[in-house]
Amino acid sequence: MCLAIPAKVLSIEGYQAEAEIAGVTRQISLRLTPEVKVGDWVLLHTGYAINVIDEDAAKETLKLLEEMCEVY
């Protein structure tokens, strides 16, 4: 129910967009994320992009994890 998966936005028309989810193309709604641009990754929940995925933050978290685990 609260699951959301990463989707890559391929094209946008108004509030509708085509996005790729694990190799499958689907229509999604951008009503909750009008700032989305083509090429952005979004978190998709029940057909709606509920947030734009922050790619920099994603990299930083991985780096943090690497650093945290260095001594273990």
Binding site: C2, L3, I5, R31, H45, T46, Y48, I50, M68, Y72
Partner: protein, 367 residues
């Protein structure tokens, strides 16, 4: 898949587990609020990997499970009204109500359609102008804005046969209710990931400030969850509880402001009844005055009769974190995913379903 596979890295997970084991000095009790986290924790065997000092309890974060029978009974009754098509997320269909389930009602002739999105429900309304489409509006803050958006769309297109039965629920108020009751003692909370994508991390501040309980917002992959546990232990150790985000790629402190705005435009808070917890003030969402024509409560009347609870089912206690699925005598014997007695065995986020699916029966019973 990008943004998922990297966070499933086994080697890094093992090292993080080592770090947590090393760090964990005293006994702590953490609650993962969200049913999605419960499933991930069991699926990846995280509970077994953690040191014995770290106890993980499951919380009430399963929207389907916390739906009160009275509301479910009402939904079933609504589906039986002439001219109605009831649209619902698939999760709800097999949940046993007091007397029936949506699935049974469907088998008996009610027109119930499974939809994946509020957009699909709206499409049904466009395609069936002479029928009344009732969408079962269930879910937490991750889902409520999508349904609010569908109502705004219906308004824009002047669709007049689309209705929402809003039984949405809000997470921070129920966390407050749990803490206020004093029934479970917690040191830290793994806060929901996708709910927080909408509301941000700020609404949890009161947990750290007023109750002195550590908080970390987590994603759903093993490294996300382990990172949140690591953060919680550090906060507990330092005696400085706060709200951290272990899921920064998906959650900003302020959340998704546009989604909050849409949700606030269409809905207002109201008291809501949670299974096992009872009525919690400000924990539900109802349609605002301006949108009442989309509200089933205003457009339809049903009386499903007094609600009843399934005998022997401990879902209510499990949702409050005071009982384990293994405490239920019906678990795995009478109650299975094929023949569920309570909602926690049906929902993809239910604790009983998770234990049944990922642990051997013996393991669950001996927990």
């Amino acid at each position: 898949m990008k943004f998922i596979d990297e966070y499933c890295n086994v080697e890094l997970s093992q090292r993080l587990v080592e770090r947590i084991r090393h760090k964990s000095a005293r006994e702590v009790r953490l609650m993962e609020f969200c049913g999605g986290h419960t499933h991930a924790i069991l699926r990846y065997g995280i509970r077994q990997l953690l040191p014995p000092t770290v106890e993980m309890l499951s919380g009430p974060g399963c929207p389907v499970c916390v739906t009160a029978n009275a509301d479910l009974d009402k939904a079933i009754a609504l589906s039986g009204l002439p001219g109605v098509i009831l649209a619902s997320f698939g999760d709800m269909l097999r949940i046993p109500g007091s007397y029936s389930s949506l699935q049974k009602a469907k088998a008996e002739g009610a027109d119930i359609r499974i939809v994946y999105s509020a957009m699909d429900a709206l499409r049904l309304a466009r395609e069936n102008p002479h029928r009344s489409i009732i969408f079962l509006g269930i879910g937490f803050e991750a889902t409520a804005p999508t349904i609010a958006a569908s109502i705004l769309e219906a308004e824009g297109e002047r669709i007049d046969n689309y209705y929402v039965f809003s039984i949405h629920k809000l997470c921070p108020p129920v966390i407050r209710a749990l803490l206020q009751s004093g029934e479970v003692k917690l040191d830290g909370i793994v806060c929901p990931g996708h709910v927080s994508a909408i509301i941000g991390s700020q609404p949890y501040e009161f947990i750290a400030k007023e109750y002195g309980i550590a908080c970390a917002v987590a994603g759903f992959e093993p490294l996300d969850i382990l990172l949140s546990i690591d953060m919680l232990l550090a906060q507990i150790e330092s005696g400085k509880p706060e709200v951290e985000i272990a899921y920064r790629r998906g959650v900003r402190p302020e959340g998704n402001l546009r989604a909050q705005e849409i949700m606030g435009q269409v809905f207002e808070t109201c008291p809501a009844t949670w299974r096992g917890i009872g009525e919690v003030p400000q924990s539900g969402l109802r349609l605002r005055q301006e949108y009442q024509r989309f509200d089933t409560e205003k457009a339809f009347y049903v009386d499903p009769g007094p609600p009843r609870e399934a005998r022997g089912c401990l879902c209510g206690d499990i949702l409050r974190g005071v009982k384990w699925p293994s405490d239920c005598r019906l678990f795995g014997q009478v109650c299975t995913p094929e023949h569920p007695v309570g909602p926690c065995m049906v929902s993809s986020e239910g604790s009983c379903a998770a234990y049944y699916q990922y642990q051997s029966h013996e393991a669950a019973l001996s927990k």
